[in-house]
């Protein structure tokens, strides 16, 4: 259960997934034909792929909701709900559900009163605060008496489940694990139930856990803090502005009321895609899907966010001082993943900053020995809405961020000024091809990709069409997008300078 706050690596991986087909005489159409899509009446999309290598199966539930959908004043709520989805259901994780629900209702009602009083700040009535706090602690402890902790995860691990986890990004919330392939029904039962009858038990303790997660990922991690600032100045209007994990005060303010409302709005079956890849029979899987997931009533999918980040008129820049070693990041605004310019941008990013032969690595690491690491990635902080391409650098000791910036800008100007040689464009395409084939090597990865493409494009086939997109890219396209997007006005800079100098 993690939030991809430092999504750098994830993004790097996803960026490499530019795909291809029909190479080297290998027939990908067979692979494509082994995938089945079925949409239930309630709007749930089911994707199944049979792979009979080993008696195992991987499952992914891909919810088209992310931190970007957090309500105002409740940043991090999507992630909080992800945590709550591991707390069991009406049939799992309780000693007595009716009694427990009563106690939960009491806990909520006291907490809401307490929260209201707390929000008065200096004007709060201290005696009332104290009595409410006592009442709240009592109500909370009482409701926990009936909980069988972690029953949900427990059952899965006991039955041989591995890799039970989930993540919340700005765009989506993804739940996943794998089981021995004879236990498909267990997943169907458990997974559908948590989106049918979730019980948000232990929520007020779990907020403390999320607060610790924030301390770990952001507050106590200098690069985590820098990236939070980077995102905040990169977006003024659009909710990509907010940290996915949420602000500390918001985390401590949530109540079950908001979490449930959030669930109701964003977790209708029409907003979910499930993907099942492994040693299974497609027919059996679809039958079980009908039986278990079909129980969830239809609700309409939530609308997309309408807010558009207005074009920036000038560079934005944030500087953080910290005892840690320096770190530099620069981003430029670009369109979302489905935009026609994206394949060319992906190629540009590969050429600039991915791998040992990229312009930036050759210059800053190999030749100047000025950077410990430098790299470029695309799709930050999210990719469902207009996004960013970014370059980061960690100066080697004795070098500083100013030097990183100068060299990065120099290389960026180069790709704007002249065409990339054709053989380099061919290499970019060859690399994309190899990465595509490599990612077809494991059930979990395939399931994740199928669900992602289905969600983003409305059609999983697009995964296999990405090749055509990137193969159509020319050197002129790459130069054009470099000139169009990598401009001064469009850029955002964040750096961490070592304090105490």
């Amino acid at each position: 259960m993690k939030i991809t706050a430092s999504k750098l690596i994830t993004v790097l991986v996803i960026t490499l997934l530019l795909s291809t087909s029909g190479v080297l005489g290998f027939d990908f159409s067979k692979l494509e034909q082994s995938i089945t899509k079925h949409v239930l009446k309630n709007g749930l999309t089911v994707l199944v792929m049979e792979r009979h290598d080993a008696p195992v199966v991987s499952f992914v539930t891909y919810a088209n909701v992310g931190a970007v959908d957090d309500p105002k004043g409740f940043t991090g709520l999507a992630h909080m709900f992800e945590h709550m989805a591991f707390k069991g259901t009406t049939t799992l994780g309780t000693k007595d559900i009716n009694k427990e629900l009563e106690l939960i209702a009491q806990e909520d009602s006291v907490f809401l009163k307490l929260r209201e009083e707390r929000a008065k700040g200096r004007f709060a009535d201290s005696a009332r605060l104290e009595s409410l706090t006592t009442a709240y602690n009592e109500a909370r402890d009482a409701s926990y008496q009936l909980v069988i902790p972690n029953k949900f995860g427990n059952v899965i691990e006991r039955e041989g489940g591995v890799g039970l986890n989930a993540f919340t990004s700005m765009d989506e919330t993804v739940y996943f694990f794998s089981l021995p392939s004879n236990k498909v029904e267990l997943w169907m039962a458990l997974e559908s139930e948590r989106f049918l009858h979730p019980v948000l038990r232990e929520m007020y303790k779990e907020r403390d856990v999320v607060a610790e997660e924030r301390r770990m990922r952001t507050d106590s991690n200098p690069i985590g803090r820098l990236i939070e600032e980077f995102q905040a100045i990169a977006y003024k209007a659009h909710p990509y502005h907010n940290p996915g994990i949420g602000h500390m005060s918001d985390i401590q303010y949530y109540s079950r009321k908001e979490a449930k409302a959030f669930f109701d709005k964003y977790y209708p079956p029409s907003n979910l895609v499930i993907a099942i890849v492994g040693d299974v029979s497609t027919d059996d899987v679809l039958k079980l899907a009908e039986k278990y997931w079909g129980r969830i009533p239809y609700r309409p999918a939530p609308p997309r966010i309408a807010t558009v980040e207005p074009p920036h008129k000038d560079e934005r820049r944030v500087v953080m001082e910290d005892p840690a070693q320096p770190f530099y990041i620069v981003g430029w605004h670009i369109p979302e993943a489905t935009h026609p310019d994206r394949p060319a941008i992906d190629a540009l990013v590969d050429y600039l900053g991915q791998g040992r032969t990229s312009l930036l690595y050759k210059n800053l690491v190999k030749e100047k020995k000025a950077a410990l690491q430098v790299g470029a990635f695309v799709g930050y902080p999210g990719d469902k809405y207009p996004s960013m391409v970014a370059i980061y650098a960690m100066p080697a000791s004795g070098h500083d961020n100013t030097e990183m910036e100068e060299e990065i800008f120099k290389e960026v100007e180069k790709v704007k000024a002249s065409l990339i040689p054709d053989e380099e464009v061919a290499k970019i395409k060859a690399r994309a091809k190899a990465s595509f084939i490599n990612q077809l090597d494991n059930n979990q990865g395939i399931a994740m990709q199928l669900a992602a493409y289905q969600t983003r494009w409305g059609d999983w086939h697009q995964l296999f069409r990405e090749l055509d997109r990137i193969n159509a890219v020319t050197a002129e396209d790459i130069q054009r997008v470099a000139k169009k997007y990598l401009t001064k006005d469009n850029r955002v800079v964040a750096m961490l300078n070592t304090s105490g100098s």
Partner: protein, 715 residues
């Protein structure tokens, strides 16, 4: 208006929560599963070539990819004490430094043009190479592999690059508190100098030379030390032929590789503390030495680990995370290795204010493991989890073939994993308790705490969990002070040059009369993003050892005050005035010793030796260098004196800069007459050739008024 929606949604949501009893609301414990399809354990072919290379082949033509994984019997444990990091750098430059046929950059181009990779590394206990390439290019992959393993040239430039990278990593190693905890905890368990725990320092990286890499490679990269696993898209006979072409003529010899060292361990209760004032969360690791995988009760410990501190539903997770909400990240495990003991550790990271509480909770959980036998449910989780997930040991071809290669190296049978499984099946709750009682020592744990002690609920020395040892994680400077050759000749020449300098600056009598100086200056620092920042400083010094500096920046005051025995300073993080540490006071003393007025004034009765140390130029000005050396031969500082004017042009010394420790060079100019002395009014500080700060003196008063309480704790 917007919020009007909320009550409606709540009503709706309540309905959904309370609507139970749906048709299939089920008890998952009652589900009936079909029989699991038979697990086909892939058949790995083992072949030993005449020269001793051991091969493990697993053909799988489902995707057009060729994979290789090579294990080399060597490791960082063989590094000499003064060259820790040698094996690691060797592992890097093997690949980047090129071969007799291709440069490293040419290999990069070849591989990246087709999206393939061949990478090498050497860890603490073994070396490895990994190949991943589309199967159309299998030949290229094998040839690059052969070149790298057999004919590396260790290009000097790429060694420099690897050393720069290694040094940069050292400089960053204290940025992440969890990394600090993991690194230091291994030292606490295995010993600071143990090959299982030690790590490079600037000095050990600096000491590594090309010949060391060449020797290391020559010593250990031999066919008899090499195992190669290949899997993926190939034809078995073709591949074998190719392997023989590339590796068949590699000659073996009779040398062997030294075994892994023994571990000495004594159980004791102790607390180790590392101060990390810039975090709000404490990282806690506690435990002791662990065991071997060959121990009789190893299968019982697998079950114990799952119950105690594995994933969801383990006791650590249930208590520390779910019940107490003390941590997001918490786990515990009694780890084991095949050839040397593992570590038992319990981990949690919690907010500073609950550090003591969290430590107590974790200890309770560990103790409880010895007292309260696993429930039936826990046994199911601990055992069934292992047994039911057993098939996942075979869901990746790479995993299967690599495991077999590892077993073979350590002389374990191919079916070792199946034997282990049979034993786990037989483990009882009694076995688990017996193993916990025998192996866990909750009263003799070494506890490491990394965090901000100011905010702890219980001070570390009040935990009552053993003596407290504070660990200093300051990164030692790698630069050795320059050796100065001290002889009658160099000393007499040094003294003569120093005397000329003193005369040029106003004469010894004038310096002897200086009892105090009062200096106001403007400091200019290259700030974030290259902007210049300006600071105002007032500095009062009463010779020999009292000083007071007040620096003003954006309305804030930073003080540094010492009366020679105690001192005060502004803490940058909290902006509070705090007492100086022993370390601070030591630094202040050394700072005084290298003050040029102090050096000049003590010429008659010197606390130092002045040693001639060669000549050079500062800009275009030729200078003679005089090293100022203390009684023990330690270099206090080095003065560069203009050969013509005899004025002091430069002063350099070891210090702490923004990028870590190094040589700081202070260039002096703008000499002005102040009372009877000629004083530099401008100084520019350089580090690594980059200007860090400029100081312009605006007022310089000798023997002026000294306000009362100048050296007392400021208000």
């Amino acid at each position: 208006m917007k919020y009007k929606l909320v009550p409606i949604l709540i009503t709706l949501s309540l309905l959904i929560v309370f609507t139970t009893g749906s048709v299939y609301s089920q008890n998952v414990d009652k589900l009936k599963y079909p029989k699991l399809n038979k697990l086909e354990v892939p058949n790995v072919e083992k072949i030993t070539l005449d020269n001793g290379i051991r091969l493990y082949l697993l053909q799988d033509n489902s995707l057009p990819i060729f994979h290789g994984s090579i294990r080399i019997n060597c490791g960082g444990y063989l590094d000499p004490d003064d060259k820790i990091g040698l094996a690691s750098i060797c592992g890097t430059v093997l690949r980047t430094g090129g071969t007799s046929k291709w440069t490293g950059d040419e290999i990069d181009e070849k591989l990246e043009a087709i999206g393939g990779s061949v990478e090498t590394s050497i860890g603490a206990l073994s070396g490895s190479a990994r190949v991943n390439i589309l199967s159309d290019y299998t030949d290229l992959g094998l040839e690059v592999l052969a070149e790298i393993l057999r004919n590396p040239v260790f290009d000097k430039d790429k060694i420099d690059l690897a050393k720069v990278q290694a040094r940069s990593e050292i400089s960053r190693r204290n940025d992440d508190p969890f990394q600090i905890a993991l690194r230091e905890y291994r030292k606490i368990i295995y010993g600071t100098n143990s090959p299982y725990a030690r790590h490079p320092e600037y000095a050990t990286i600096n000491a590594i030379e090309r010949t060391d890499l060449v020797d290391y490679h020559r010593k250990y990269f031999k066919p008899q030390n090499i195992q190669m696993a290949f899997w993926g898209d190939f034809n078995r006979d073709d591949l074998l032929k190719k392997i023989k072409t590339y590796f068949g003529d590699w000659k073996k010899d009779a040398t062997t590789v030294p075994p892994l060292p023994q571990v000495d361990y004594k159980f004791e209760q102790a607390v180790y503390y590392i101060n990390k004032p810039d975090v709000n969360q404490t990282n806690i690791l506690m435990g002791h030495i662990g065991g071997l995988t060959t121990d009789d009760d190893y299968p019982a410990r697998i079950v114990m680990n799952n119950i105690l501190g594995g994933g969801f539903g383990s006791r650590m997770f249930n208590t520390v995370r779910s019940k107490e909400g003390l941590a997001y990240s918490t786990f515990a495990s009694y780890t084991a290795n095949i050839k040397y003991p593992g570590v038992f550790y319990a981990f949690a990271s919690t907010k500073s204010e609950t550090t003591g509480k969290c430590i107590k909770e974790v200890i309770k959980v560990v103790k409880d493991m010895q007292k309260n036998p696993p429930t039936e449910d826990e046994m199911r989780m601990g055992k069934d989890g292992y047994l039911n997930s057993f098939v996942f040991n075979f869901d990746s071809k790479g995993e299967v073939v690599n495991r077999l290669m590892r077993y073979d190296f350590y002389g374990l049978p191919d079916d070792y994993l199946f034997q282990e499984k049979e034993k786990v099946e037989k483990v009882t709750a009694d076995d688990v308790i017996t193993a916990a009682k025998k192996n866990l020592h909750p009263d003799a744990m070494r506890i490491l705490i990394v965090g901000k002690s100011d905010d702890f609920d219980t001070p570390v020395d009040k935990l009552g969990l053993g003596a407290v040892d504070t660990i200093d994680i300051t990164i030692p400077s790698g630069e050795k002070p320059k050796e100065v050759s001290v002889s009658n000749e160099t000393v007499s020449k040094g003294v003569q040059i120093l005397k000329q300098a003193i005369d040029a600056h106003g004469g010894l009598d004038a310096f002897k009369k200086v009892k105090s100086v009062n200096i106001k200056s403007t400091l200019t620092i290259k700030g974030p993003g290259g902007n210049e920042m300006s600071l105002q400083q007032e500095y009062l010094r009463v010779y020999p050892d009292k000083s007071r500096a007040v620096t003003k920046f954006m309305g804030m005051n930073f003080v540094e005050i010492t009366d020679g025995t105690t001192g005060w300073k502004t803490d940058r993080a909290t902006m509070k005035v705090v007492p100086m540490t022993e370390d601070d006071l030591k630094k202040k003393k050394v700072e005084g010793q290298r003050n040029y007025i102090q050096i000049f004034g003590a010429f008659d009765d010197p606390y130092y030796k002045a040693v001639y140390d060669g000549s050079g130029t500062i800009g275009d000005t030729p200078v003679d260098y005089v090293a100022i050396v203390d009684k023990d031969g330690n270099n206090i500082c080095r003065l560069g004196i203009d050969q013509k004017t005899h004025l002091l042009k430069v002063r350099s010394f070891m210090g702490e800069g923004p990028m870590g420790p190094g040589t700081i060079e202070e260039r002096l100019s703008n000499f002005t007459d102040v009372q009877n002395l000629k004083v530099p009014m401008t100084s520019e500080m350089y580090m690594n050739g980059q200007k860090q700060m400029t100081s312009n003196i605006t007022s310089f008063i000798i023997n002026g008024d000294i306000p009362a309480n100048s050296f007392a704790k400021p208000e």
